[in-house]
């Protein structure tokens, strides 16, 4: 197995494209190394992206935030500006694994691992995040919800590497939240995850919203019907009920070792309601 530490994104992309065997990007490694340990993958090439300057930092830009692909979830939690603007996104990243995992794992890795249960992904989808992808020839930008195509598969082509994830500029009176259900208080994979991001008008009526769910379908879901249920409301009980109904209707989960169809479907509605309430309170500045 070869191990390379390129210093630019393009170099990384070229290395991966040039590899005839199995090539993997190594960011935090918290998923990849587990798969290697279990011999589910046996890479011929690992491209460690942690020495690429463009991937190493969180930047606050006029257009929003740019989070480098090699930035750990812990670093996101330590960035007060990011945390203040996108508390739900940061919470979702900070729910991934233990402190030990937090210091290594990245949201780009969480996305590219393409698990239906990835914690950061519903929060990113709700936030309207975009992914900056670098290929050997060209760069492109793609909406985060377009990346995962199925369990373990993405729309990225061979040689394409995620360089950064961007979050849009936040209008005033905006808030987001992410909640997940796990049997234990820590260290579990989400049985259900729900992310909500919303913006209020001056009368505290929800002007726009995005709702996303995790672990209830082959891919994390954007649920426009759920957003519609609460837009134009002050999140009254009726709106919340419609939100839950829309979320439950969007669920297409499986029975597995982590949960049942019935349980996931019901709890998706509950968590979406709670996340919406949290996001709403945050948008009000509370």
């Amino acid at each position: 197995m070869k191990y390379q530490t390129p210093s630019t994104s393009k170099e990384a992309a070229v290395l991966i494209q040039g590899e005839r065997g199995q090539a993997f990007v190594l960011a935090g490694g918290t998923d990849l190394m587990v798969r290697m340990k279990g011999r589910f993958v046996e890479p011929d090439l690992l491209v460690d992206i942690k020495q690429i300057p463009a991937m190493q930092s969180i930047k606050k830009l006029a257009t929003g935030f740019r989070i480098g692909a090699a930035v750990s979830a812990a670093e996101m939690g330590e960035n007060t500006s990011l945390k203040k603007t996108w508390p739900g996104v940061v919470e979702s990243a900070n729910l991934i694994g233990s402190d030990q995992i937090q210091n290594r794992c990245t949201i780009a890795g969480n996305l590219c691992n393409a698990s239906p249960a990835a914690d950061a992904v519903p929060a990113l989808i709700a936030a309207g995040a975009k992914v900056n992808v670098v290929g050997p020839q060209r760069r492109r930008t793609v909406a985060v919800e377009k990346v995962i195509t199925g369990p373990g598969t993405t729309s990225l082509r061979k040689g394409e590497v995620v360089e950064a994830i961007t979050l849009p500029k936040r209008p005033p009176k905006s808030g987001d939240a992410y909640l997940r259900f796990t049997p234990r208080s820590e260290m579990d994979i989400a049985v259900v995850g729900a992310g909500v991001s919303l913006t209020l008008d001056s009368n505290l009526v929800i002007k726009s919203a995005r709702v996303a769910l995790g672990a209830v379908a082959p891919t994390p879901l954007l649920v426009p019907a759920a957003a519609q249920a609460i837009v134009g409301t002050k999140l009254n009980k009726a709106a919340l009920n419609l939100l839950a109904q829309a979320c439950c209707a969007a669920c297409n989960p499986i029975d597995d070792k982590r949960g049942t169809i019935e349980f996931r479907t019901e709890v998706a509605g509950v968590l979406a309601q709670r996340a919406a309430k949290m996001a709403y309170q945050r948008a009000r500045g509370k």
Binding site: M187, K257, E262, E266
Partner: protein, 753 residues
Amino acid sequence: MADDPKFKNRKFKAVGTRPPRPDGLDKVTGRAKYGADTFAPGQLVALVLRSPHAHAQIKRIDTSKAEKLKGVKAVITSKDLPDVTNGDRDLYDTLENCLARDRALYDGHAVAAVAAIDELTARKALKLIRVTYKVLPHVTDVDAAMKPGAPIVQPRVYTRGVSPKPKSPSNVAKVSEFGHGDVEAGFKAADVVVEKSYKTEQTHQGYIEPHACLASVGPDGHGELWVTTQGHFVYRNTCAALLGMDVAKLKVTASEIGGGFGGKTHVWMEPIALALSRKANRPVKLEMTRDEVFRSTGPTSSTSIDVKIGVKKNGTITAASAELRYQDGAFPGIWAMLGAMTAYACYDLKNVKTIGYDVLVNRPKVAAYRAPSAPMAAFAVESTINEVAAKIGMDPVDFRIKNAAKEGTKSSYGPTYGPIGIGPTLAAVKKHPHMRGKLGKNQGRGMACGFWFNFGGETCTDLNIGVDGTVTLTVGTVDVGGARASLSLIAAEELGIPYERVKCNIADTGSLGHNHMTDGSRGTFSSGMSTIFAARHAIEELCQRAANTWEIPVKDVVWHEGNAIAKGKKHKQLQPLSLGDLAAGSENTGGPIAGHSQIVADGAGVSFASHICDIEVDPETSATKVVRYTVIQDAGKAIHPDYVEGQFQGGAAQGIGWALNEEYIYGDDGRLQNPGFLDYRIPVCSDLPFIDTQILEIPNPNHPYGIRGVGETSIVPPLAAIGNALSDITGVRMTHVPMSPPRIRKAIKEKQA
């Protein structure tokens, strides 16, 4: 006198204090050496090839390509472990479990093994071994395995415990019936009869240290084994028997042990390491991965239990019965039998009957797990006890107190109890502030009782006095949780010297007589008793040396608080001789001074506990959180209270994990789906509250210090305590463990529907 095991109600100086443990520094600095922490010159790395099938005939194993790979030094299959068990069924089962012979009996069953110069090469070699399987139908559920037409797991197993002897093989390996009186008459006399059925899923001990060993055997038949185990003497005997070695020529050293809880009482892969080493004539290191630990070592049974209890309106139980079906994995065990013996042990019953069915399935061979089989039976019985109490409108604690066993009660498994602690633990529950504590929103409270037998067994101990008067205590029971501190306290107590003057070592098998394992809560009970006797023998010798020094008859010498004292007025000019004085002069009074003890430590005292639990349940998601937990248990005598509390807390935590989230999940293909700590969910730090403890001391009359043993009972009550707390808050009786959020949710909805 020296070997008198009777309790004498003595006053203690050292025993009952909390000094630092002697192995503490090594363990906080990373110096302590566990199973995987030792290396030998020229050692090879071994890996095991395991069956991916739940049940399959092994038609052919072709190892030729693997053998030819450069760097591979040995490849073995069952052909390299010939059957030398002389018809001993248990040994043969162990042999077959270590390395499959004609059939793979469960997902993870070892099929072949390699030893190579490094892990990379060993891994390549494993891939080159070709096994031709014919997949057979399998069964993993205990109830399914008992149904007619179920795939037969072991064609050589005919049901034992029934007459006449059956004519065809069966998955029911053993039927065990216990009890007394006439239950049918008892149920007729009852005002209320409650019948309930329960299921519990399979759990694993979940010790953090995977199995690991370093084996070294030469063509001359001599060998050494360094291994993490609860009983290196037992491992030695088993391994020697399976490999056809002389017991004396196999020296086994117990490493520090990273948790066992029963899982390291059986050999799993050590014979493979020894066989590889013998074939390669090189030392061989074999470590299991966590995946292998879950798939290929011995978890506890999954069960299916029916309980029936009849009661008078005044709260007297008139009859109680239970049918307990426990799976043993692919090899016969005694697990349902233990369930049947323990189920009603807490109660004083005129009419009681339990029947245990030990059932074979295509899962790993079941092993002991802390008070093996008792938690599941207690879950079923203690849940039903609450239901019965509710039916007659009686407080569940009062109901238990009314029916609790006491001294003179004929136990449900046979013998009459001596002084026991169930009544006192229940009285302590009544008085405990936890029972009066205010419950928060969405919180419920439950309590339950538990029983475990405890036992002793073969024990051998040396006590050697150094020239400076310090004492080396050499024991043969592995220290799993602080026993060296406790045993040093006992030696210090008996000799009348400070704790700091004693050093306790665990001997290898070449340095001490045979010792049974550290299991059955026997470590401190048995080695404690043996240490007392070894110390008393040393005192006899010390008195003789004092007599020699003083040139007086030994009958005039007594030992008192670390000194030899000459009795009587005629010797009043003789100053006491301390242990240090006598040690310094030993060269000229007869040479080295030592005490020795070789005993069967029988007469272990039965153990009871009562637990109280508060749980919070999210009304919308059924997420659970244990918010307060109290353990009350009879220790007999707490030698080192810190480590007694530690056992109480650890057992409770394991029981809480079992109750709420831990379970083996098998797919339809018969393969284990969650062989890792991510999805086999043992409690993490943020899942648990502080676990309060109350130690009761009802002395065991058969131990000089009154010790009963404390390791196991604490895992027995939590399943039912949590079930009862859940029932308190949700109004639903949970009958399937683990009581995970999806199961609670489902039960609540079914009740609402």
